[in-house]
Symmetry: C2
Subunit: 224 residues, 2 copies
Amino acid sequence: MAERPIGDRRRIPEATVARLPLYYRALLETGEMGIATVSSERLAELAGVNAAKVRKDLSYLGSYGTRGVGYDAEYLLHQIARELGLSQDWPVAIVGAGNLGQALANYRGFGARGFRVVAVLDADPRKLGLEVAGLAVEAFADLDDIVVGRKVTIGIIATPGHAAQEVADALVAAGVGSILNFAPTLVAVPAEVSMRKVDLATELQILSFYQLRRALLDQPRAAR
Amino acid sequence: MAERPIGDRRRIPEATVARLPLYYRALLETGEMGIATVSSERLAELAGVNAAKVRKDLSYLGSYGTRGVGYDAEYLLHQIARELGLSQDWPVAIVGAGNLGQALANYRGFGARGFRVVAVLDADPRKLGLEVAGLAVEAFADLDDIVVGRKVTIGIIATPGHAAQEVADALVAAGVGSILNFAPTLVAVPAEVSMRKVDLATELQILSFYQLRRALLDQPRAAR
DNA sequence: CGGTGTGAAGCCTTTCACAGCA
DNA sequence: TGCTGTGAAAGGCTTCACACCG
């Protein structure tokens, strides 16, 4: 049951990394419910996956379960948090103070675990000083100073598409290591910067594809 | 170059479906630029993938390219739109009129292609009548009538986590076929309903994982 | 000649099934 | 006995490389 030092372990597959947050959240819930031990079966149910996947995923972190019993919920939670870097402090800057930027800034559960919004920026001078989630909106021109001064590691792009690449470039130049992009455009960043995209239009179009298929199954005539 | 009827073709892999929107967007851009023909190479660049993937993906739709030349941009755009069901009209209802719901309702490019927000609902009586994106916020209690009356096919959950399952159940009961869930909770729906999740906390935690790894590589001492 | 369309190879992910241990 | 941890099998996705054709 010894903790493996981070880094000194076999590589964790991307697919597993993407599921660790699910387990993390599920374990927070069991914690609130006062459950001390969870089986892979139970955890799978809470996270919406299957038990074999849970066991395989957790085995990449180390042998933190007990055969015949299950996993100690609190200890496992701690291990996953450590693996995800949630015990660290990650200052976040949001670029774009429109509806979306404000929604993101006000998102609860943000401050909760490591992620702290330390700045909301906008290029539009009319937005300057506007209060968003307890912060005054600052000038995009000051990005560099803000990132360096407040040790921002994660940048969130919540601007219109046409500004996204420029914002990304500025974030990278300022030294941000991770970017979460909500703008509906292709944004290129150097390989050493992680970027993830969230795109409403894409999601809707994917849903539309499957919706169409079902509609055609229901009434296959007129398959336009 | 004949159009294959939809349905009468080999199954399109999920991974490919998820990329079709990227090609769609890239082709819209080439259209604006007045480019008539694109190679898989060029399209790959615009979509941020590699050329082999583009060719493989497009081959699932049919043989719409010309050897030695490339793809007719407009025709290909049309085929992808047809495949994704973007020539259809998909009325959308947004549940939750908070910051996020408002941001989503105001999202441009929504009305653009098939997706039309026809209702914004909230359970909080104080939100009733508030104007969001040209629509008056309506009562969650009226969901059923609204879905049926306006033929809503896609529901968007933009509520706090604790309300998400209830909202999803109501959407499904009302007859919605697809759900896009922005609430940070596991939501279960019947197999015949498609659901996709967008979760800020998860995305940040994934970024945090890789950020931590990089930080450890830079200074491997004190590998806490 | 040049770029698509596609079998085949390689890689990654999921699932199975059971040995091994508390 | 019961549940984890994990090799092995199966399945899916990506990449390769080249036959084929406009």
